[in-house]
């Protein structure tokens, strides 16, 4: 029952958020549905009498349909960028097949005898089409439309992956912040929406079928019910989007991790509270840096939290640099020169690789640093995920700097690492320094005293153009400089991932505590 309770609490607590996502979802789906219907039906009609084009077009949409949807979303990022437009294009491409195919099939399968009869009675070509061919094909076309609608609503759930919002965002955010009731609420909402649309069209379909028998009350009810639901959905689309239009806008994006959601909220709320700029949140962009960075360059995103190590190694593809301060300085210069992007501040914490072991053990054996661990390492079993053993900057490199001599080394799935530690299958694991499970399991994070792992200090990257447009931002972000220590970030992550608070609430509390809100 507590599970149900969680769900209701989630809905109650995040009513506004969920409502916003619902509206986004309906908007995106409905726009796609309208475009698909127009293109799909007219294409279906156009290919009716043209065998060559028919083969080309049906072949093409069939092929497009077989491309996995996630891949399709990714495929268009370099062309269209992230967000609503991309999602719309992908939804339209997927939705075309059932509509084109059913339109064509429906029209084609009309008994030629009936068309001949109509023509023979003096119907013009348009009358033959509109009075005979189309109405007879309509049930088939409608069933293709129905398939498309359900599919589009479901697929729109993936749109959040590329920052287009919608109910998928709740699911995605739930996954990334370990919040199962949010996942469930998002999923149920998508399913319900699809179900309602399906019922609505199904009711119309049924009324058409029974019409061939006798028009009766039940049938009329079904039809009104169906049109009613569709009309409701349509009204939704016409609802004015809250506070949109010409206000100053700033797009804040994050990668899909709990920590990033929290940082995103901190940045957004800070801006919203201290300026009159409207913040658009595109949180949890799939693919993280590899999709956000290009979008920053294109100007689709204005701000996002990034880690120095990621920028240095992954984006600039430079070789590791020991000193975190000189790394930051180099990064700042290169970003400004090469990308016209500004590192506005460093937040203070360093989310890098580290080694962790239970606090009690660490205390007993007096282990605080990697070097101290190395001395006693023959008493311990070490566990890490497969690729940590594989990577040059992982275990083998680490071993060259610190002479570890573990009793045993165990390769584990990344998600089972902490469980293995709890079961005492392993004694020491590698971990990220701000992982909330470190606090949950009361682990001690050891100090990398010879600085083997590169620094992954969190900072805020802003487009220079945005800074010029809103000069007040610079001072604002400077106030965040060094405001979050490793342990503070760990605490914030803990509140979201383990205590299931929303990133929104956690960020607000943080800002209040630091007196960063007006």
């Amino acid at each position: 029952m507590s599970f149900l309770n969680d769900i209701f609490t989630t809905i109650a607590d995040r009513r506004d958020y969920l409502y916003e996502l619902l509206v986004q979802h309906i908007l995106l789906s409905l726009t796609a549905i309208i475009i698909i219907s127009v293109i799909g039906i007219s294409t279906g009609i156009a290919i009716l009498h043209d065998k060559k084009w028919r083969q080309v077009i049906l072949g093409t949409v069939n092929f497009l349909y077989t491309i996995p949807s996630i891949a399709m979303f990714g495929l268009f990022i370099p062309l269209i960028g992230i967000g609503y437009g991309n999602a719309l294009v992908v939804l339209v491409i997927y939705g075309l097949l059932p509509v084109i195919r059913n339109t064509y099939t429906g029209l084609d399968e009309v008994d030629p005898l009936l068309l001949d009869a109509a023509k023979g009675m003096g119907a013009t070509p348009w009358q033959v089409f509109s009075m005979v061919r189309w109405p007879l094909a309509f049930p088939t076309i409608l069933s293709g439309f129905r398939t498309m609608v359900v599919m589009t609503i479901a697929l729109a759930g993936l749109a959040s992956f590329i920052g287009a919002g919608g109910l998928g965002q709740a699911i995605y955010r739930g996954i990334n912040t370990n919040n199962s009731s949010l996942i469930l609420v998002g999923s149920i909402a998508v399913a319900l929406l699809a179900l309602v649309a399906d019922l609505g069209i199904g009711a119309i379909e049924n009324s058409l079928k029974t019409k061939a028998r006798k028009p009766d009350k039940k049938n009329r009810f079904l039809r009104y019910f169906g049109w009613g639901i569709l009309a409701l959905l349509f009204i939704f689309m016409l609802l004015p989007k809250s506070g949109n239009s010409s206000r100053n806008k700033l797009v804040v994006a994050t990668k899909p991790t709990a920590e990033q959601y929290i940082l995103g909220e901190i940045i957004s709320q800070l801006v919203e509270n201290n300026t009159d700029i409207q913040v658009i949140r595109k949180f949890g962009i799939g693919g993280g840096t590899s999709n956000i960075h290009p979008a920053m360059l294109k100007g689709e995103i204005d701000i996002y939290p990034e880690y120095t190590g990621t920028a240095w190694l992954f984006i600039l593809k430079e070789s590791p640099m020991k000193n975190p301060d000189s790394l930051y300085a180099a990064l700042k210069t290169t970003y400004a020169g090469q990308f016209n992007l500004e590192w506005a501040c460093r937040l203070g914490f360093n989310n890098t690789f580290t080694l962790a072991l239970p606090e009690s053990v660490a205390q007993n054996q007096h282990i605080n640093t990697f070097s101290e661990l190395a001395v006693q390492s023959n008493q311990f079993v070490f566990g890490a995920e497969f690729d940590f053993f594989e990577r040059e900057d992982g275990f083998s490199g680490l071993n060259k700097v610190y002479p570890f001599n573990f009793k045993n080394e165990v390769e584990l799935d990344i998600n089972l690492k902490f469980q293995a530690l709890e079961n005492q299958t392993v004694d020491v694991i590698n971990a990220f320094s701000t992982d909330s499970r470190i606090r949950q399991m009361n682990l001690r994070v050891l100090k990398d005293d010879k600085q083997f792992f590169p620094a992954y200090q969190a900072g805020i990257v802003v487009r220079n153009e945005s800074l010029r447009k809103y000069p007040e931002l610079k001072g604002l972000f400077e106030r965040l400089e060094n405001s979050i220590s490793d342990s503070a970030m760990l605490q914030l992550n803990y509140e979201v991932e383990i205590e299931n608070k929303s990133p929104n609430e956690v960020a607000a509390n943080f800002l209040k505590q630091r007196e960063l809100l007006k």
């Binding site: 109509a118 023509k119 003096g122 013009t124 009075m131």
Partner: protein, 242 residues
Amino acid sequence: MNNPVIEIVNVTKSYESAKKALNDVSLEIPREAFVAIIGPSGCGKTTLLRLMNGMTGIDSGRIRVMGKNLESWDKIQLRRKMGYVIQQSGLFPHLTVRQNIAFVLRLSSVEKQAIEKRVNELAKIMGFDESQLNAFPSELSGGQQQRVGVARALASQPEIVLMDEPFGALDNITRRNLQREIKEMHRKLKITFVMVTHDLHEAFTLGTHVAIMNKGEIVQFDTPENIQKEPFNDWVKEFITI
């Protein structure tokens, strides 16, 4: 036979398959006649019928319908002036009986009230009651469906009704009844009927004139009595005695 309502002169028609469907066919259909066209399958009888309302074009020759050359007719207007009944009735399954009968009138945007009046007239003639008018074709028997098909063809008060094996799919008893009915209607309405059939008995009982076709040509065209009395050749003699 002065002033024929349909006049076909030296018409030749071949399809893409290169086989000649009609070879130098001439035929004069007198006003108010009931012409039955009969012949073995593939003899070109349906093609001949479809020439008359421009559903099929011709390669050479000349056709006059209702005093006007076929080329100078607006085909759409011409067809609306001619009834058209096809095999298996050709009723529209998505329309009620009433809507089916009104179809031709709706094509030429006749006023709603006028349509209703005409449909009710026809319903009276054919003996359809209200529940039958509101039924869909699939709810009627085959014979009733074909009667609706005939009513539909008569809706626009045509001078000519073309029928392509209208009773082909019906059982014998229903067919005899419908034949009687259509004969009576021809007598009362004083319009021209042209009917393609493969049923000798039907052709000879209904037709005031019978056209016997073979291999794209009209072998003999005359009254049933004359044909029976004097078959044009041995082939006709054999054909009509089968």
